[in-house]
Symmetry: C2
Subunit: 338 residues, 2 copies
DNA sequence: TTGAAAGCGCTAACAT
DNA sequence: ATGTTAGCGCTTTCAA
């Protein structure tokens, strides 16, 4: 591997027979230049393989064109699409991402915050696996902050969240539209924002249709095993139901497996809607799962857009924004054919 | 949100009644200072909330203390632990990560490469989802490059890879040690490095034990469905087997489900070893899967260490390094109890 | 239309 | 032990 020496404006200037200032103008397209001069500079730059130092430019302009991404939990299944969505926006704005994983460690988090600020990031996106509220990273920061997925406890902070209520409502409305009337709710763990909001969304949607849950909601972990248990429990308890909304695809998949093993058919006897649109789950389920997609990459997109807007000086109102969920239809709710 | 004005060395110097140079020395711990002076500077810095600009420091020292991470595919299940492992090393070296997702787009990849170089990253880690070889990003780059998980086609490049052969061998040896003698191999898609290497590892390990596969290996996608199909196919073909190595946890899980539904018991009739140690799969399987852990975070750790060593001027030999896999024992290979 | 010069915030060599 | 100065690579007035 050859280590090429770095070229500077001065080198280019010398080769083109002009001053450094002229090189800067030629390359940035600013100011008045004779086009012949510009050509000459461009040619010289190309010949030398000149690559401007963003470092020096940043020092000069006071903008690093970099945003820090602070993931409070470790990066996970939800964080990935958020990052991807954010990058779509940032790349278009020529902004790079500095990634810091604090892994839930407050000390590390403060440390990373300092690191980001010393690098003069133009803004900070805070994200993490859970949708529960988290303490604000500070209210006297010299740069804008946007919380993605993780809501800040400080209501004046800007948070972008997925819409659990609307997601649950979509699930219920879809079950109803496929002819289900006796619907059960298989929840995640209690006392979590996600669970609570999905619960309300469910109840409200049922209410609008003049319906009630066919059984009290049951709570458990986000696991397939819990889904299987729930199925067994409901059937043994003699609950009559023809539709189920499970708060995650893992639960839904376990629930589906559980029903099948108990001799019930999906979707003929019971229609099932999951949540997350997790490819590994929805595809492997038999039959493939209808589910709610929380639109995580859209969430990242919105968060980054709000970030850029603030960097560009726009005044964005504090508070939460919800990104609507969508329904993805598959076999587990297919209308029973005669 | 208050935007605090940024403080510079000069501000601190003025408040402490010293020169900027002295402030620099006091804060960096370089040179000779009367401790009273140092205290005074530190106090002033603290009072002003001074945060040194890494930007200016980098320009001065020529080191950005940042490495670029170029993910050629989109970030996925495998990339996450690699990033985490890398961050462990980098953080200790005070080095930050700039993340760029090229998503398999060569144009975007070149673009990101330019961006990284213009930011004067100290080095570049290339990674991605597949372990197949990929073209080198260039051999005349001004900074060191390490390939993690994705092997470069250029043998003089430094690549860090997981060890498929040793992983497969561990699986086979474990099956043998739990008393299995008629072992089948459920492969992934043909013509992939991962599949090929796991295949050789399997054959070699069997050979060392004086055994052969109980049936020709069968190839299919990395899916649960393929695992189920494979189980059905083997059983219907009348193949007698008491052990199976499946090249992924998804396949293993499907295989396990398939066997159970055909009336065979795991691990009593058949012991199963998967590969990946993917929590969502190994835990949800019934029974939980024994599997091979490819040690991805260790891989990231090694890659980042080689990166730092090179940045520090060490001369690292080109070529591939393999990170050994390990076996994680669970129920799917438990020794049958009488 | 182009060049010269100052300065972004810091560090390091040299003076004092 | 501390201050002065120059310079990292670039942009941006201001002069020429």
């Amino acid at each position: 591997m050859t280590r090429r020496q770095l070229t500077t404006v001065t080198d280019v200037a010398r080769l083109a027979g002009v001053s450094p200032g002229t090189v800067s103008k030629a390359l940035s397209g600013q100011g008045q230049l004779r086009s012949a001069t510009r050509e000459r500079v461009l040619a010289a730059a190309k010949e030398l393989g000149y690559r401007p130092s963003q470092l020096a430019k940043s020092l000069q302009t006071g903008r690093s064109y970099m945003v820090g991404v602070l993931t409070t939990d470790s990066i996970g299944r939800f964080t990935i699409p958020i990052l991807t969505g954010a990058e779509d926006v940032l790349e278009a704005g020529q902004v790079s991402m500095m990634l810091c994983e604090s892994r839930g460690d407050r000390v590390r988090e403060r440390h990373y915050l300092q690191t980001m600020l010393s690098r003069r990031v133009d803004g900070i996106i805070v994200t993490g696996r859970s949708s529960d509220e988290r303490p604000s990273i500070g209210d006297d920061l010299p740069v804008p902050v946007v919380y993605a997925l993780n809501k800040s406890t400080d209501p004046s902070d800007i948070s972008v969240l997925h819409d659990d209520r609307n997601g649950a409502a979509l699930a219920i409305e879809h079950l109803i539209s496929t002819g289900r009337r006796r619907i059960v709710l298989i929840s995640g763990p209690p006392h979590h924002a996600a669970t609570t909001n999905r619960h309300s969304g469910t109840i409200e949607a049922l209410h609008r249709a003049g319906l009630h849950l066919a059984a009290d909601p049951v709570f458990g972990p986000w696991s397939e095993e819990w889904g299987r248990e729930a199925a067994a429990w409901l059937v043994r308890a003699g609950v009559e139901f023809d539709g189920a909304f499970c708060m995650s695809d893992q639960i839904a998949r376990g629930f589906s497996d559980g029903l099948r093993e108990l001799g019930l058919r999906v979707p003929n006897d019971v229609g099932i809607v999951g949540m997350d649109n997790w490819d590994a789950m929805v595809g492997a389920s038999r039959p493939p799962l209808t589910t709610i997609d929380l639109q995580m990459s859209r969430l990242g997109y919105v968060a980054a857009s709000l970030m850029l807007a603030q960097i560009d000086g726009e005044d964005i109102e504090g508070g939460s924004r919800l990104v609507p969920s969508i329904l993805v239809m598959r076999e587990s709710t297919r209308v029973a054919t005669a």
